[in-house]
Symmetry: none
Subunit: 422 residues, 2 copies
């Protein structure tokens, strides 16, 4: 079974949007054990889109088309599909009703253009994505092959690919062998450092060939170690993943903070919730980013009380009680951590101050960051550490988030036993 990807949109060719959709789809195909040999980008031109579809169908058994399903004049994917299928477009009443209902639920009038999105090539089936997006996916049988179309909006595209297209492809392929992967999320060691710790294991796996491991550096998300295993079925593949996870955890120890999509925010929130502790933040250079990322985790409200984003210096003094003097210092960040606990009424206080750049501040280079932690009843007063982070303004702020949360995690690991319970 071969499936290739065609991304439609002049903005992709002009480089105004980077085509991350095709990359993501390629990864899903690989994980599903479906071969994918080509990816094509084509602009919003009818003849060229038709040519791209025809060629992809020649080379492969299935094609996933991404983009061009919107309601505007330059969204012409469905017309191109109809031409390749040699059929007309017809209004799908169910889709039309769904689109009208979607606008209704937002109390907005539906522009007539949106009804274009309910047009489906005769013989094709609309795939309604589980979110109330307006553009449905399309499943289009073409001879003994199949063409799927998905919207370019990533979250709609992903839902349709994961829940409808991949299962359909696997069924058509009669795929029995499964490829499964699991990712160990790590923080606190460089990529080469991880490679050294795992050198022996990597050699052994190269010989055996299954499972395999790979490193993926992902900035604010930390360093990922991905295990990929092939098995006769999911259970067999998972058994290999389980065994390898044990091997790797033995070598990596506390560096591993989570699995797969579990990020540092979730790991820290889970540790605090287990211990029955609440968290208050005081943020300067991150400007609310730590709180915002913690709030991305459903259920964060059980732990996170809030954050005092003290961007102006006198807010640090007046609201958080930071003593007069430099605000990029260990003294200031420890006072901020204590102030966060006091003002927000939390068990734990975590604070950051520093220089995001582009300019220096108080004689510190951009990238200079101070992290303050007040464990309250669990500790002996506020403590702090200084760090020097790489990159531009945005990267410094993002690395500050995971560095601060990683530091809090280390302190909590250091606190013995089932603390704070009751």
């Amino acid at each position: 079974m071969r499936c290739e990807v065609v991304a439609v949109g002049t903005e992709l060719l002009l480089g105004q949007i980077v085509d991350t959709n095709s990359s993501w789809i390629g990864e899903q195909l690989a994980l599903a054990g479906i071969d994918s040999y080509f990816q094509t980008k084509v602009g919003d031109n009818h003849a060229r889109i038709v040519a791209a579809f025809r060629q992809a169908l020649e080379r492969s058994d299935a094609v996933i088309v991404c983009g061009g399903l919107g309601p505007t004049q330059d969204d012409i994917t469905r017309q191109a599909i109809a031409e390749v299928m040699g059929v007309d477009l017809e209004l799908d009443d169910e889709v039309a009703a769904r689109i009208e209902a979607m606008f209704g639920s937002r109390g907005r009038r539906m522009p007539m253009n949106n009804l274009l999105q309910a047009e489906v090539p005769v013989g094709a089936t609309a795939i309604l994505d589980p979110f109330p997006g307006t553009a449905p996916g399309l499943l289009c049988p073409i001879g003994d092959k199949v063409l799927y179309a998905v919207p370019g909006v990533p979250y709609e595209m992903r839902a349709i690919v994961e829940q409808a297209i991949i299962p359909d492809l696997r069924a058509r392929a009669g795929v029995t062998a499964t490829i499964r992967s699991r990712t160990l999320r790590t923080w606190g060691e460089s990529e080469s450092g991880l490679a050294e710790r795992l050198a022996g294991r990597i050699k052994a796996l190269d010989v055996a060939g299954n499972p395999t491991i790979a490193f993926l550096a992902s900035g604010i998300e930390g360093l990922k170690v991905r295990i990929t295993a092939k098995g006769s079925d999911d259970a067999a593949a998972d058994a290999l993943l389980d065994a390898e996870e044990v091997e790797l955890r033995a070598l990596l120890g506390e560096l591993v903070f989570g699995l797969d999509d579990e990020n540092m925010e979730q790991a820290v929130l889970a540790m605090l919730e287990q211990r029955g502790l609440t968290l208050g933040l005081a943020e300067s250079l991150t400007g609310g980013l730590i709180a915002a990322r913690l709030c991305d985790v459903p259920g964060a409200s059980a732990v996170l009380r809030g954050s005092i984003v003290a961007y102006a210096s006198d807010v640090k003094h007046d609201v958080l009680g930071v003593p007069e003097g430099p605000v990029v210092s260990d003294t200031a960040v420890e006072a901020m951590a204590a102030g966060a606990r006091r003002v927000l009424g939390s068990d734990i206080g975590l604070a950051v101050t520093g220089v995001a750049g582009p300019d220096g501040q108080e004689g510190h280079e951009p990238g200079t960051v101070f992290i303050g932690i007040d464990l309250g009843a669990l500790g002996a007063g506020p403590t702090s550490l200084a760090s020097r982070l790489p990159g531009d303004r945005q990267r410094v702020r993002e690395f500050t988030v995971i560095t601060a949360l990683g530091a809090l995690r280390q302190q909590l690991l250091g606190v013995d036993g089932p603390v704070g319970l009751g």
Copy 2:
């Protein structure tokens, strides 16, 4: 003159690396006035690489190949080019000497593998990049067409494309025409709503053909209307852009908040700074995201005093002075806006509360959002508006950011004259 891009690398198909190189090359081609209609990704497979090269050469006058020039087993681009040219590879002494010198200068022994990078198809010319990268680019004449190969390392690739390939392409094309584009950033109307407002203009432009306009939906970034104009030189293209911008602004009015990379955060910060006003935030469901995005803008500190992220209800009551009662309500959000002004000592207070989901709260559906604005001396007390936003937890929070900032922008537009000055 048509030039297309072929990116070589299995890791691109597997989604392990996002192909940003092709996007960047596409942008350079567009700015140079060279048409580019297709981009292809192909894995490290000799037959398929050869097939991709041959097809690209059929469709276009020139092809830029990116990647596969390294020293390892799976770097087979130069062999594929040699096959397409029907020639052998030969060692280029100048390149070999350069590579050895490069290693020497770093005090490292050159692995023999690296000499493979000095192999050039007979009849092709090595393009030595100005940086001391080991892989040179290749200029390969094929009949009356040309194929260029560049390394996948972005900074080497960019140097060779900018300094050697684009000038060579323009010379071959005798290009004098330039393509320039400009993007109007809008908020407050749906994509199809914009299409309706601009329908007449779109028809007129379809007839004339230059400039053209396209819509780009970009979530939290709002809706973009991109104008693309072709001209004999930059000045001529810019003149067309200027004229079209005037036409579109007349039709879109206040919906346009910025140009090109100017986002809503910058637009609002600029309005406040012009008026000499400071801003304080109170955030519930956004959890600091509004402050974090404002802080992404260098110079935000001139306007933004900070944010009280009141995630727990009693923080809303205790810190912000929200009266007892429901916290997802107009009363609560207006008290939050006033509280932000008071606690943070700012001229303006902006607050948001609502339900991000997945669960409802206080009988409100996920997506229910209240926005509060306290213009202080400029207004008659806090005001609020309710909104219903689409999507999952994360999208609701992101849309809340631009919706709240857009609402503040509208209020500031409504305030007459040079207010707040002195």
